[in-house]
């Protein structure tokens, strides 16, 4: 099914009317339908499910015996097995992840082009088969142990960061892209700077439901109008924050005030001003290869721990996901739902006091499933047919259970503090020692039998 972008857009007049009303408290009709009064979603970057959770003990991970042909045209020729990154000479770099690479890897659904596609991009194709494990991702694996891991969560588009971020906030492909080759900054900005796009924030604003878009290292002067003046890594802010490509979010102070630096997230948690819906994007610690996984986990841990330590925890949910596959191998063929997607699976974890404990959710989801949850929870109309028909992430919740008490998830696998105590040994040895002494004392207190006991020599006898 091909979506018609023009049909997905809400008339600008309606949006403007809603804005005029300001961000009033949620109308009675938009009160949350679940105990979740605060929903936070964070978009990290560029990993597949198999790349992060392929060897996780539960869930749909790397199949046994998989070996990716170097040349898809020779399926029985040389092949590459999945390997733990860092365990061989293959450098853990940043695999190519253009739309063209995705298509080669997908190979018309045969899913056999992951090595060949990188080779074609003049990279070491074997890299695509690399994966990380629990020793590299202890925090995420621990989160999966304690909360909900989605193992059928697909990126919305078989493309790069920009298009998937747009799906994340609009449920659609942002109009007709200028080209379908990239998805990265500077290539497919919608004509007119995304003027006609309707976002979930328009819906929330109109409904009087509070929201904020938290941006790490936010530069308010960096928008779709100015990004060419900035170095590419800084200009990526526009990729991660699609609102910065939509004129009304730049030109309307009431809307622009919702795009804020990430430091406000921590302040809002402390001052009980956390909005109903929060979108968060990182800057440096996005985990975009080859950046540090530890740094990314520390960043995510800081966000989640701050939420857990706040009074808002008992009515919150935090969804961590990744914008695209980043060039890495994933063994699950993404279903085709329209021209753009789905893309390959990405990791996604739900953290909430109402999240099922240690649950692997097999529900088919994508970024529009996040929108679906927000729309269901605050009784909003869907933005596109994609989110209208998407499954909600709500399958990860169990609202019948009482909210789980706040608890920080460990950043190390296992419990290094836990020691095995051999209690019977301690009681046996020390108890035996004490019993032997008591026996000797008892023998000493028994009056001596005449001539039966050897005597000490010495003064004696003059007890006073």
């Amino acid at each position: 099914m091909r979506l018609r972008p023009t049909l997905l857009c809400v008339p600008a007049a309606a949006v403007a009317a809603a804005l005029a009303a300001g961000s009033a408290p949620a109308a009675a009709g938009h009160a949350p339908t679940t105990p979740i009064r605060h929903f936070i979603t964070l978009m990290q970057q560029n990993h597949t499910y198999d790349n992060y959770f392929g060897t996780y003990p539960r869930g749909d991970g790397l199949p046994a015996g998989v070996c990716m042909p170097v040349d898809p045209r020779r399926p029985h020729g040389r092949c590459v097995r999945p390997f733990h990154l860092g365990s061989n000479q293959i450098a853990a770099g940043d695999p190519a992840h253009s739309t063209a690479t995705a298509r080669r890897e997908f190979d018309h659904g045969r899913m056999d082009g992951f090595v060949g596609a990188l080779d074609a991009a003049h990279e070491d194709g074997r890299l695509a088969m690399g994966y990380w494990n629990g020793s590299d991702l202890p925090y995420y694996w621990n989160l999966a142990d304690q909360y909900v891991l989605y193992d059928r969560f697909f990126s919305s588009a078989m493309a790069g960061s920009f298009l998937n971020h747009v799906y994340w906030v609009t449920g659609g492909p942002a109009g007709e892209p200028a080209s379908e080759t990239g998805g990265e900054l500077g290539q497919p900005l919608p004509r007119g700077g995304g003027r006609g796009l309707t976002t979930i924030f328009d819906r929330l604003q109109a409904a009087g439901v509070s929201w904020k878009f938290y941006v790490q290292n936010y530069n308010p002067h960096l928008t779709y109008r100015t990004f060419r003046r900035f170095p590419a890594d800084r200009a990526a802010q526009v990729t991660r924050v699609p609102l910065l490509s939509i004129p009304r979010y730049l030109d309307t102070p009431a809307l622009r005030a919702h795009i804020v630096p990430l430091s406000q997230y921590y302040d809002d948690l402390l001052s009980n001003r956390l909005p109903a819906v929060s979108y968060i994007v990182p800057s440096g610690p996005s985990e975009h290869p080859p950046s540090s996984l530890a740094s990314g986990q520390a960043f995510v841990r800081s966000l989640i721990n701050s939420l857990i330590a706040s009074p808002e925890w008992k009515s919150s949910a935090f969804l961590l996901s990744y914008d695209d596959w980043g060039g890495w191998y994933d063994h699950v063929k993404p279903p085709r739902v329209d021209k753009y997607g789905y893309g390959f699976r990405v990791p996604a974890i739900l953290v909430s006091p109402y999240a099922r404990r240690g649950f692997v959710d097999h529900t088919q989801l994508d970024f529009t499933s996040i929108l679906r949850f927000i729309e269901d929870n605050w009784r909003l109309k869907p933005l596109t047919s994609r989110d209208a028909h998407a499954n909600s992430i709500a399958t990860g919740f169990d609202f019948r259970q009482p909210p789980r008490p706040p608890e920080f998830t460990s950043q190390t696998r296992g419990n290094p503090l836990e020691t095995h105590v051999r209690r019977p040994l301690i009681y046996g040895l020390y108890g035996g020692a004490a019993a032997l002494t008591v026996l000797l004392l008892a023998l000493a207190l028994v009056p001596p039998g005449r001539g039966r006991e050897p005597a000490l020599s010495g003064p004696g006898g003059d007890e006073r």
Partner: protein, 534 residues
Amino acid sequence: MSASSPSRSAVAAPAPIATLARRVAQRVREVDRTTAVEATLVCAALALAAFLRLWQLDRLGFNSDEAVYAGQAAAIANDRALTPFFPVFRAHPLLFQTILSLGYRLGTGDLFARLLADLFGAGTVAMTFLTGRLLYGRRAGVVAALLLALMPYAVVVSRQVLLDGPMAFFATVTLYLVARAILSRRLVFLYAAGGTMGLTVLTKETGLLMLGGAFAFFALSPEIRIRAKHALGAAGLAAAIILAYPLSLRFAAHTQAGQKYLVYQLFRRPNHGWAFYPTTVPEAMGVLVVAAAVLGLWLLRREISWRETLLLSWIAAPSLFFQLYPVKGYQYLIACAPPVALLAGRTLARWQPARELRWRAVRVSPRWAMTGAAAAIAVSLALPAWGAIEPSSSAGTFLAGTGGVPGGRTLGRWIRHHVPRGAEFLTIGPSMANLVEFYGHRRAWGLSVSPNPIHRNPAYDAIRNPDLAIRTNEIQYVVWDAFSASRTTFFSRRLLAYAHRYHGRVLYSQAVTVSGRDGRPVQTPLLVVYGVRR
């Protein structure tokens, strides 16, 4: 037969009771007035000992060492909340912790642990009486027990969940049994002494010093002839009992724990100067008590026998060792307190002036003069002992002599109820870290714990890069406390620098009112908890 038995026993029952009553009445008639007075005094000494050791016993929470020993006991008792924070095999043997764990199987708490420590303290007073009676007669036993009951040193140490108090108890039992063995010439007492010597070491490894004291005694007392096989038998029994410690380490695959601690103790830097014990312990024992003990050795020099050699050996072995040893602890010499009290009791009970004392029209018989001296010394002990168990509020010394850390327990309970499980803390030093872990059930790292394994207690883990740990959100809270800050201003400043650098927010604070330099009451911070983040 079965029908007649109950009626027969019902008829016969009053006979033993009547017999018992007659025997008791006969014994009461036999007790002379002096004995009755002395028995009353023994009871009074024990009552005083109990009072001073129980008064507001639970007013303050544990100090660091108490938290560690109680934590170990909780881990042995399978307390799931504390087991992750307190490895059973840390530094010392586990006899006291194992006994404590039996009570902790019903629930971990402060009061029970301190009551158990107190029980050993009161037991030491009782054993001091028995030893004094054995060596110098009932009067000396009563006086020695009274002095020990009131001795601030014994009171302060007994009120804490430390290993030294129970170790002193077993050492005093051993002292009694050695004396009993010599006086009764019964070998079994020597073997029993070997057993209790083993328990002394199983309570704390420094009890080995008392073994040295015993050897010194036999070597210095030629009149005590003991066959080698008997000595070896007693030593063998002690060794067999001590063996429980290395065996438990070996079977639990924790042999390195003991070895590391030994190496650390041998090579750690001195924590006090040579004058530490001479300036603190006599004052804590009571200067008059020490003076009476020393004076008696001169005044009663004609009576000196193996008895004094025994007591002096018991004092000299630990005193000499710890005086020479670079690491010193206030409570390390507590095993010397009973023999010192015994020597003082000997002086007060057995020495009298040659004639009555006269002061103007007042005449005091020699016996009453010594009774008055004993009473005066007792009062001189009681006052500082009372002061020691009442937490002071003077500036800079609000850390109670009873060993507890004010606010530590309250802080820990606040943490347990307000800080998410799994949170980690940075404290100035390991003392507060232990309290956070014991009461708060949260992991805590002492900033002052050296990353260099040569310079740190192997029981503690060092935080290698606290700055990084905060930036990566491995540590989310920082605790400043006045107790640790007073010990190390350097690490106090460093800790506060982290709090300021990483958006420290005050989440919890405690202050105490203390006397300022001008004598006016002022509020001073006691504890502050900061939430920190990158």
